[in-house]
Symmetry: C2
Subunit: 367 residues, 2 copies
């Protein structure tokens, strides 16, 4: 399948992103050789850190300029692959000295969830802009501290939400918020995969803060929020059974939940580590729209009650990093929907989902 | 789209229904002109009664031989269309005299849900076999009375479950029960349409016994039961908001629920009268299988994680009526999964779903 870069994505003008809330601001001089690139240090060189770096290989507005890792062998591999000078390679002990490194503009925090707070705050205190992966942290209180630290330091804080730049998801948002099929009434949003490695940090509560809800469910909450353009006002949730007791000692194996939105829509969701699932459906007054696969790295398949959806498959990581970098290079504020405050809104919902599930499914108001 | 009759369905031998629990027993002499047909009287000439009669137009083993209706104008139309003699036309007052009519073998009850009990019992007392539409009645206690009445009268009682004979659903059952992709872990089964007529019997509790759960949710419960081959052991349920107060004064507008099965599977479902939805997904240990559309009259679209599913589109009503008729003509007992006891099992689950939703979502055991 053809992969589209940001440039080809922008050149592909036929899929109607106007009005979808995305402001593309290409540089006046769009010649790649002349483009100033934002220098990004990746903090955490796990699987997703690798995907991000690969995405930035074709980026026009940013580059992998530095790394922060606790593993010397990874440092050596990355140094060679991305031609990173020794002075831009940090470990978790000497990380704060990045403050004096003028060759790093932004730190992208891709660590296990529970470490997001510390490293976002340390990066902010070092005067660096920050992108942090989802979920933003493991509590809403932590998210607030992170937002405050970035404000105090005068740096920008972006969420690493790759789907805000993805054409199918831009279309979902347009169809929902512009009520193309009338008011959305029912949504189903589910994401799951099989987790069978007991050593994986995502099944250890101290590192992940929770199970599939934290790592996968956050996408389901996100899509329901941006399709409606509303915040959920009520929640019920139910833990699934533990069928693999070797793996799921600390976090839930699966969870289902229902969000009620202020306009009357309901979203019924599942997140699980015990099987694959990846689907979104919205039923509205005059029709429906859906994706399946829906939330993974794609390629996505979508349709509405009026016919199939067909958009280019983009490199989600490259486009996301480029779009954030354009704003920061221009000294402009980031769009509201990718700021740290957006991560906080999701975390408030995730906390309410856990609270309901822990209470045995009681319907709770979300404040 | 080509419609398959029962005959072409049986001749289409490549889709592996063996072992799926369906025993086809074509008559030794399969020449239509020589085949004895079961004489069926349709009780209730609404929309679905019409679909059933149309299905029987191409049936090989049954015919529309009589009608029971309270509307003289409908009697006249049907008399002409199906060449029904006056002696086989009944109203709700003189219905019991059908007992002496040797030209009627079976009564198919297609009345509003709350009337099923009375007419099934009256038909049984008249010595006629019975097919009753889903949901079987409006309480489990009523279902038990109906089963007892048929046993006492020595007549067979079949549920009008059109999907038990449908090739995609036979395949769902095979994939699930034979664990082709390992144990099923998560199912999503949802069905909904827009109900906007305040005079429709389905939104009046005295006639319908409930809202979308009774009329549509019963299919979602069914599919989850026959995909796992298990009974649910626990349930949580949540009423959706009432967004159309003109229509939904007596029954729920939408409802979500989660069933827990003895083997560890969970089914997360939605039924609604406020938007269209029609999908089934099963995530298992080694793959997945799904239909969308899934539960309506089709045509269905299905796939598994191994590739697309492709089966003929059958006339669901014709095949169902033929298969039940073959058994009754042969004097053989009906298969367990289409007997009245099956309708009772569903009703026990529906009652538990309502009980949980009415308690605010409390997780309940199902006995």
């Amino acid at each position: 399948m053809k992969k589209f870069t940001r440039r080809s994505f922008l050149e592909f003008g036929s899929f109607g992103i106007a009005g979808a809330g995305l402001a593309f601001t290409p540089k006046a001089n769009n010649n790649a050789s002349d483009t100033k690139k934002l220098n990004i240090a990746i903090c955490g060189l796990g699987r997703y850190g690798t995907y991000l770096a690969e995405g930035m290989e074709t980026a026009e507005y940013c580059r992998v300029a530095g790394i922060i890792t606790g593993t010397p062998s990874k440092a050596a591999t990355w140094k060679k692959k991305y031609n990173i000078p020794d002075k831009n390679i940090y470990n978790y002990q000497n990380f704060d000295s990045i403050a004096t490194n003028k060759d790093i503009d932004l730190v992208y925090v891709v660590l296990p969830n529970a470490m997001h707070k510390e490293y976002v705050i340390r990066a902010a205190k070092a005067g660096k802009h920050v992108i942090v992966e989802k979920p933003m942290a493991i509590t809403a209180a932590d998210c607030r501290e992170m937002i405050d630290a970035c404000k105090k330091a005068g740096v920008q804080l972006a969420m690493g939400y790759r789907l805000h730049y993805e054409p199918y998801h831009i279309e979902l948002r347009r169809l929902g918020q512009q009520k193309i099929f009338g008011n959305v009434k029912i949504m189903e949003a589910s994401l799951g995969y099989i987790s069978s490695n007991p050593d994986e940090w995502r099944v250890h509560k101290a590192l992940s803060g929770g199970g599939p809800l934290m790592n996968l469910g956050v996408y389901c909450v996100q899509v329901a929020r941006y399709v409606t353009g509303e915040e959920p006002v009520s929640v019920s949730a139910q833990f699934g059974p533990v069928t693999n007791k070797e793996i799921f000692k600390e976090v839930e194996e699966s969870i289902t939940w229902q969000l009620g939105f202020s306009g009357g829509a309901v979203c019924n969701s599942t997140s699980t580590y015990n099987c694959g699932i990846d689907r979104f459906y919205a039923g509205a007054e005059k029709g429906s729209f859906e994706l399946s696969p829906a939330i993974s790295y794609g390629p996505f398949i979508g349709k509405t009650s009026a016919g199939p959806l067909s958009f280019p498959t983009i490199n989600q990581q490259q486009v996301q990093c480029d779009e954030i970098s354009i704003k920061i290079l221009a000294g402009e504020p980031l769009p509201e929907h990718i700021k740290g405050e957006e991560g906080l809104k999701d975390m408030i919902v995730l906390e309410a989902i856990y609270k309901s599930a822990e209470s045995g499914g009681k319907k709770l108001s979300i404040n």
